[in-house]
């Protein structure tokens, strides 16, 4: 049963209240009388307790809004009715099931029997609908239908060659299982065409790269060179010619394709990080103890971006032909630099996660990206991307959009800078945030309002439940 939560009357002469902060978010469990939001009237800040135990089902009044007393600000799904609410807040299994079929094959790593490894490429150029990640989108069609899975090969009159190919060392099978990869679809270089550990790792690397894209600024300048005929070097010239790794090739293709597809514009904001750094400083010990991961500025950035994406749906969108595709889910890709390239694992349903949830997911994804343990689904389906060249000292970048998305946020280094505040000189930790956006869909005003929203979240430190 749903119970209304109302703006309480805080006094006889008081007709309205300003909701300053939600202490709970939709889907959170609340106990009766547990504070769920704060209001502010003149010089008084008050915590308002929940009228019932249950789950916060819906927030109807956002932070900063002023509403008359007795306005319904939220609804609690009371204990008796939690089953309904729980169903609503757990969309993951269905999405995962849908994503699974697309996960196994990838055009680049599995030369199909009929076609070459280029099958998917033409499709890649076209903007893809909805959440499908661009390079992967073409992949399942490249031959998935024709090639039976390994499991069905055995015991179904398969050839000796087929059986050999499926055979492989326990290590390889384990890796294949972890990454949900069909070994029969990897070209083996071992004995009798067996798939070796090197084969599968290389395949996975290329696989992962297909779904990645990030700022690689140097790549921005390469379209012309990519199109031009390769220079010819004579033996004896003082160069060393090395073939590109599969991942490198995929990154190069993806970057150039993005430049050709979107009308890139980059806008840069400077943000005072004093509050965020202070929140981090105050909470990092308790946070580490409770969650086992470090509290970095990254989850604050992700959270701030998610809040802005909720407000500006056109930034969480794609272009599909003449249509605009607004995505109902917010899946935030986080660019991770690797020694051998880069990859963009995706924080799925980032809008359902608390700050600590985001921190945990990001840490886990980054660690597994570096140990090559990401599954293909984990690098697919992003609706917006954040890249952080600041960790290397970059002040700001002009990142390339991760297709088929329409915007990417680049975070520069957080540095103490001397700034002027109310005509006085002050030292503040500052950061440049750069948003590259697709001007086909997003107007400059929208992009800048989006950035102003992020800025205000960070400057004012509007984060709840940090630990």
């Amino acid at each position: 049963m749903r119970v209304d939560v109302i703006m309480p009357q805080m006094g006889e002469s008081i007709a309205e209240g300003t909701l300053t902060r939600w202490l709970k978010k939709p889907g959170d469990k609340v106990a009766r009388d547990e504070p769920i939001f704060e209001i502010s009237t003149d010089k008084v800040d008050a915590e308002i307790p929940s009228p019932a135990a249950g789950t916060l089902a819906e927030i109807k009044v956002q932070e900063g809004q002023t509403v008359p007393i007795n306005t319904v600000v939220a609804q609690i799904e009371s204990e008796a009715g939690t089953a309904v609410a729980a169903g609503k807040t757990a969309p993951a299994p269905e999405a995962a099931a849908k994503a699974a079929p697309a996960a196994a094959p990838a055009a680049g790593l599995a030369p199909s029997r009929q076609g070459g490894p280029t099958d998917g490429r033409e499709r890649d150029m076209a903007p893809r609908p909805a959440a499908a990640s661009v390079v992967f989108a073409g992949a399942p069609a490249a031959g998935a239908g024709e090639i039976p899975r390994a499991a069905s090969l055995i015991g179904s009159g398969a050839t000796v060659e087929d059986l050999r190919r499926v055979r492989s060392s326990p290590v390889v099978r384990k890796i294949a299982q972890e990454h949900n990869v069909d070994i029969s679809r990897i070209r083996g270089t071992g004995l009798s065409g067996r798939v070796t550990k090197k084969d599968i790792l290389e395949a996975l690397e290329g696989d992962a790269a297909t779904a990645s894209a990030a700022p690689a600024r140097s790549a921005a300048a390469t379209p012309a060179r990519a199109a031009a005929p390769a220079p010819v070097y004579a033996p004896g010239e003082r160069v060393s010619v090395v073939p590109m790794s599969p991942m490198r090739k995929k990154i190069a293709e993806h970057m150039v394709m993005s430049r050709r597809t979107s009308a890139h514009v980059t806008t840069v904001f400077e943000v005072d990080m004093s509050r965020v750094m202070r929140l981090r400083e105050e909470n990092q010990r308790a946070f580490q103890e409770r969650h086992g991961v470090k509290l970095t500025p990254t989850p604050f950035m992700v959270k701030a971006a998610v809040e802005a994406l909720k407000t500006f749906p056109e930034v969480n969108a794609s272009i599909d032909g003449d249509n605009i595709v607004y995505k109902k889910d917010i899946h935030v890709g986080i660019a991770v630099a690797l020694d051998w390239g880069l990859i963009v694992p995706v924080v799925k349903h980032a809008d359902d996660l608390s700050l600590s949830g985001i921190a945990k997911v990001v840490t886990d994804l980054a660690e597994r990206a570096r140990s090559k343990k990401l599954t293909p689904e984990e690098v697919q389906g992003g609706t917006f991307t954040i890249t952080n060249p600041g960790i290397f000292g970059s002040l700001f970048c002009t990142p390339i959009i991760n297709q088929p998305q329409v915007a990417i946020l680049g975070v520069g280094a957080i540095q103490k800078r001397v700034i002027v505040v109310e005509d006085a000189i002050a030292i503040r930790p500052m950061v440049f945030l750069a948003l590259s956006f697709d001007h086909r869909l997003i107007d400059g005003a929208v992009a800048d309002q989006f950035m102003a929203h992020i800025k205000s979240t960070l400057v004012e430190g509007k984060f709840t439940e940090i630990v």
Binding site: K43, V44, A424, I427, R428
Partner: protein
């Protein structure tokens, strides 16, 4: 008549006082504690209320710390203010639920108790409509900022008795750029001991709020005294 235990705790660090207030409020909410009026003065600290803007702190935190001024973010209402030696800070931990579920009335009552207290020292103080606090001689002499949780109050008021007013130049007090800050010392041309102000305030507070005030042995409620070294720091 309801009892309210009061104590003058002397100089207390801001974080210690916050813990003390929260402890008292928690005890009151769970029925284990009594209503209290905590009176004290703080080490120099700039506090940011819920509606504070960081820009209203005009000097970098590093510089402030070097000058011995801490910065604290709090859950009281209001904006930025300064607390320090010579300022009488009052934190009433009261349960408003039984007889006055009205935040505006609570603010006016706090102002009333302070205005009457100032009357004991021949300081003519008054309210300005729309600007919560107590005003005298064209300046703000007392600031108010309150936090409520289930109608139990924390935070409260800060009355400038002999506060070093130059410290307010570090901030835009309460976000009011054009208003001056004043103190009893500035208006009277003499220093009034905080203890004298406490002695005048307690009965006025009792009258306005309808409480029987019981003095608690300050030592029992006070946190451990700070060492001389901490005082200097």
């Amino acid at each position: 008549m309801r009892r309210c235990v009061h104590a003058f705790l002397g100089r207390v660090g801001y974080d210690e006082a916050t813990d003390l207030q929260n402890g008292c409020a928690r005890a009151l909410k769970t029925g284990l504690g009594e209503e209290r009026l905590l009176l004290l003065e703080h080490d120099p600290v700039i506090t940011l209320g819920r509606n504070a803007r960081r820009e209203d702190v005009l000097i970098a935190e590093e510089t402030l710390r070097a000058q011995g001024v801490a910065v604290a973010v709090t859950d009281r209402g209001g904006q930025v203010t300064y607390h320090g030696p010579g300022q009488l800070v009052g934190y009433p931990i009261l349960d408003l639920a039984p007889d006055r579920r009205d935040v505006a009335r609570y603010l006016r009552d706090l102002e009333e108790a302070l205005i009457r207290t100032l009357g004991h020292f021949d300081v003519a103080a008054s309210r300005i409509a729309g600007l919560t606090g107590v005003w005298a001689g064209g300046g703000k002499i007392a600031s108010i900022g309150v936090h409520l949780s289930r109608w139990v109050t924390t935070h409260g008021f800060a009355l400038n008795v002999s506060t070093d007013l130059s410290r307010f130049r570090l901030i835009v007090p309460c976000g009011l750029k054009t208003r001056d800050v004043t103190s009893m010392q500035r208006l009277l041309g003499r220093t009034v001991p905080l203890e004298d102000v406490v002695a005048a305030l307690v009965p006025e507070f009792a009258a306005v709020f309808g409480r029987e005030m019981i003095e608690q042995n300050a030592a029992a409620a006070a946190p451990p005294r700070r060492t001389a070294a901490q005082e200097v720091a």
